[in-house]
């Protein structure tokens, strides 16, 4: 049980580094949004799973399960809200063939 939690914590560290690097070095709003939403959600979610595995069968793991369910609903919805806000704000998606000014 402990070693399974260790594996999920390592997965969380790897995905968190990838998401933060993507947010820092990607060129556009939509690409940054893609890196942020997928990698951040996966890293936080695997940390939750590691906490559930480490707590065992107790009231603590039930509360973490409730937080996991709400986070699984609210994080894609907030990414969608930001993407819709950027689209209504008329931000043009980045293309690779465009010349640099």
């Amino acid at each position: 049980m402990i070693w399974l939690a260790q594996i999920f914590l390592l997965l969380g560290i790897v995905f968190s580094i990838m998401g933060n690097l993507g947010v820092l070095i990607f060129p556009d709003v939509y690409t940054r949004l893609q890196a942020s939403s997928t990698c951040s959600t996966t890293s936080v979610f695997s940390v939750f799973i590691a906490a559930i595995l480490s707590a065992g069968f107790s009231p603590l793991s039930g509360k973490i399960l409730v937080i996991t369910a709400f986070f699984l609903v609210s994080s894609p919805v907030s990414s969608y809200i930001i993407a819709r806000y950027a689209w209504h704000n008329e931000i043009v998606p980045w293309q690779k063939t465009r010349k640099k000014k």
Partner: protein
Amino acid sequence: MLLSWDIMIYFFLGTTVLSMVRIVIGPSSADRLIALNLVSAQVLAILVIIAAKENLSIYLDVALVYDIFGFVGLLAITRYLLKKETSK
């Protein structure tokens, strides 16, 4: 244990600071909203890790309310900015 809870707390503190750079230098307001969402998710992870380390369930109530208010706050900020853009 190879990866203890203390290492995870300091790691997520470091990545939170790293993603706050995007809030400061973001060119548009959508970039700042993305980084704010990322910071909110990582602070939520820190709260759950502290609760699992100390074996106290009161941090989980704080984490749930923090998640709900972060989501509602982001919704309110985008709605306010869109209304301000369209009224001009």
